[in-house]
Amino acid sequence: MNSTNTKEIKSTSTSNVKFPYYPGCTLKTTAKNFENSAIATARALGVELLEIPRWNCCGTVFSLAQDDLIHHVASVRNFIRVQEMNDYGLVKNENRLVTLCSMCFNTLKSTNRRMKENTEDLQKINELMYREEDYKGNVEVLHFLELLKSLGYDKIRDKVTKPLKDLNIAPYYGCMILRPKEIAIDDPEDPTIQKHILEALGVSVIDTPYKKVCCGSYQTVKDKYIVAELAYDILTHARKKGAEAMTTVCPLCAFNLDQRQQAVKEKHPDFEEMPVFYITQLMTIAFGMDKEVYGFDQNYVDPRPLLKSKSLIED
């Protein structure tokens, strides 16, 4: 019911390279715009994100307790599904599992690392899941940004039909794709992967040290004002440096930086709203795609007035 667009997108291309794709629960609900725009941009770049069958929630947070194996079962079960995709020929010898959500990425990759480094843990989990085939430890967890990097920034540049000129954007990374450094997709102290992608799209990239400051993560559930203060710092600092909007690749960061601007305004009445994009939303515009895949109706701060003022969208 909620993947109609995805199915349509999938059915239109068969020659693309197929990657197992792990969506995660949020991508199917509040971050549907991230999923749709990412699948569309990947397809334009010759990559098919093939949703893994029967996937389950990754577990959301990687459990750090040494004796808490049960919370790793969920991630490992997804790795088994990737093995099955290869067994059944849905993908050809492709063990790289692509994720979009930073939280899922962190949980899946951290669990995978523990399983690869600790065969005893893996054996225990395999025995608990005796109805499944054993996880053999061959899956590689990849964030979508890493996939884009491996395809090459030039390839992205080649696909741009509508350069995002005069658009000043500050990329935001958050924690989950940078920390701990063992699983980081980029230099955890000075990540640049979004900068390169945005530059390929024609964006004027604004660098801010707040790009790797935590957004408050799931504290947003406990106390929205904790997050509002952090979002205020991150957004106003970007604004001072000349940014008109920010980009992210994490549905939770997006929620905290975008939706929580309502709480920011309660505490800081002078605060000026700032749109927060998924980087893939900007890619769909730059690639000249149909507005159906932009998904701006799910953004809290409407980015359309900004884009219209730059003549990047029509209505």
Partner: protein
């Protein structure tokens, strides 16, 4: 538990046996011993757990229903001789085996949420609202192993978490609400209630009104069945009884 020769139990068993097995004990060659709530009973081999318990003298008021594996009332948990695994099944569909330890679970304690599907948004948040514990699922799959209908219970819980009403309805369609999944779940999720909420939402929002229903409602409102209805309403009790007993029935 050692005393399986209690005269009272013998008398109850005696009174029941013809009704449960249809044959006399002296004609039965093969006997097994089962342990019902820790007490050993000799029962004829080849009975279901339900009939074996009745043979042993149990009379069911709860924990029994259709006796055909459809109603989900006779949930049972058991262990087999020499096997550490706790197993589950419907008592009317599971054969009693020698050395089995078992007990009936006539009811699963669980709060059933009250909601009006016409007032709820058709999205995943409805599950979080009424059964927030669904998000505690760790994908251990214990629920699936417990399901006597062989449903992929964990998969439909996962479908609920991501708001996939269509998938949930498809996977959980054959649920008989026995409650065994919920009894085994370490995250204390009440899977079968979650599934029912999901199917109701899917019925309300995911499926359109089917053509045959629309057609029939139109026929009714246009009075196609009015004559027959008037006839029924004017019947005496005796006439009604006659019509009822002589009605068209599906063959047994």
């Amino acid at each position: 538990m050692e005393d399986n020769k209690s005269p009272i139990m013998d008398r109850i068993a005696e009174a029941n046996k013809a009704a449960t097995t249809g044959i006399d004990a002296k004609d039965i060659e093969n006997w097994i011993t089962i342990h019902i709530m820790g007490k050993a009973y000799e029962v004829p081999a080849d009975l279901t757990i339900l009939t074996a318990m009745e043979y042993a003298g149990y009379k069911f008021v709860r924990g029994v229903g259709c006796r055909q594996g459809f109603c989900g009332a006779c949930a049972t948990v058991f262990r087999k001789k020499g096997d550490y695994k706790l197993q589950t099944g419907m008592a009317c569909q599971t054969r009693a085996e020698d050395g089995m330890y078992l007990v009936q679970i006539p009811f699963t304690p669980a709060e059933k949420a009250v909601y009006d599907v016409t007032k709820e948004p058709y999205e995943a948040s409805v599950f979080i609202k009424y059964y927030p514990e669904v998000t505690r699922c760790v994908s251990c799959n214990t629920c699936t192993k417990a399901c006597p209908q062989d449903l992929e219970v964990m998969d439909y819980v996962q479908a609920a978490i991501r708001g996939d009403f269509d998938g949930l309805s498809d996977i959980s369609f054959d649920c008989i609400q026995c409650g065994l999944c919920a009894m085994r779940c370490p995250a204390e999720i009440v899977q079968y209630h979650v599934a029912q909420l999901g199917r109701r939402m899917f019925g309300r929002y995911g499926l359109g009104v089917p053509d045959h229903l629309r057609k029939r409602v139109k026929e009714i409102t246009e009075g196609k069945f009015q004559n027959e209805m008037d006839k029924l309403v004017s019947c005496s009790t005796e006439e009604l009884r006659k019509i009822y007993t002589e009605r068209d029935k599906e063959p047994e």
